[in-house]
């Protein structure tokens, strides 16, 4: 049985949430590998997101490449594009967390 390493980006998402789909779109456009963790529609059942990001909203991404944890789709999209898009700074490529 083959074993692959975990992708560096973890994406907390809600099925069919348009804000999350926007992030999905960006991740795919940038050809980034990620793993999806789906949470429940009820905010009260999102303890994992609260623990990870301090909020109960999704989308949230955790990027082990850079040590960044981020909520809010607009922020996440900006972050992904500026980190991994054309003209990105080389912080992520250098593996330079902190």
């Amino acid at each position: 049985m083959g074993e692959s390493t975990d992708p560096p980006i973890t994406f907390y998402r809600l099925q069919a949430c348009p804000y999350c789909e926007r992030v999905t779109h960006t991740l795919n456009d940038l050809d980034l590998e990620y793993r999806s963790r789906f949470v429940e529609p009820l905010h009260s059942k999102r303890d994992i997101v609260k623990r990870v990001a301090g909020v109960r909203t999704v989308p949230v991404i955790v990027d082990d490449n850079t040590g960044v944890t981020m909520a809010e789709s607009a922020n996440v999209v900006d972050y992904l594009e500026s980190t991994y898009g054309d003209g990105a700074t080389s912080e992520a490529d250098a593996g330079g967390a902190d």
Binding site: M1, Y12, R37, F38, V39, E40, K45, I48
Partner: protein
Amino acid sequence: MPEFDVVELPAATPPATGEEAPDFTRPLVTDEFWEDRSLSSLLAESEGRTILVFTPMIGSFPGTYVWEELAERNWDEGVDRVVGITAATPYAVSSFLDGTGVPFSIFADPANDVADRYGVAHDLDGMTGISEPRPAFVVLEADGTVAASWVASEWPEFPEYDELETQLGLETPS
């Protein structure tokens, strides 16, 4: 003569002891989220063996009985890792874990393909188009080979759990 029918099921065809178990990827539902996981990735992070527990669908009494029994027997605290799989959506599994508090993670496989590949699927009479796993326990070594298994041969049938623990070679906390 009892006035109810216990149906004898056709012979199951689980992977034989010593064979490599089929790998698969499905959403694994925990009490907090679900994410795609492969069986092989679980085996890789496990110290001991992994027990794959097939149950009838979430909401059925046989499914509930199996999980409550395993919780009562502290199978979550044993040396071997226990992971479930059933024919249900992630939402149904998530609600079940939330409602019962059983301390296990369960793969969601609504189409029941994995049970089919493991030779333990059961097409339900009177529920056209719906198939679910029979109760079945498959013990896997870290390299994915089958160490032991038990599959229900009647419907409904539950294992004699004391015997099952001996047969599967479990070291469960007493």
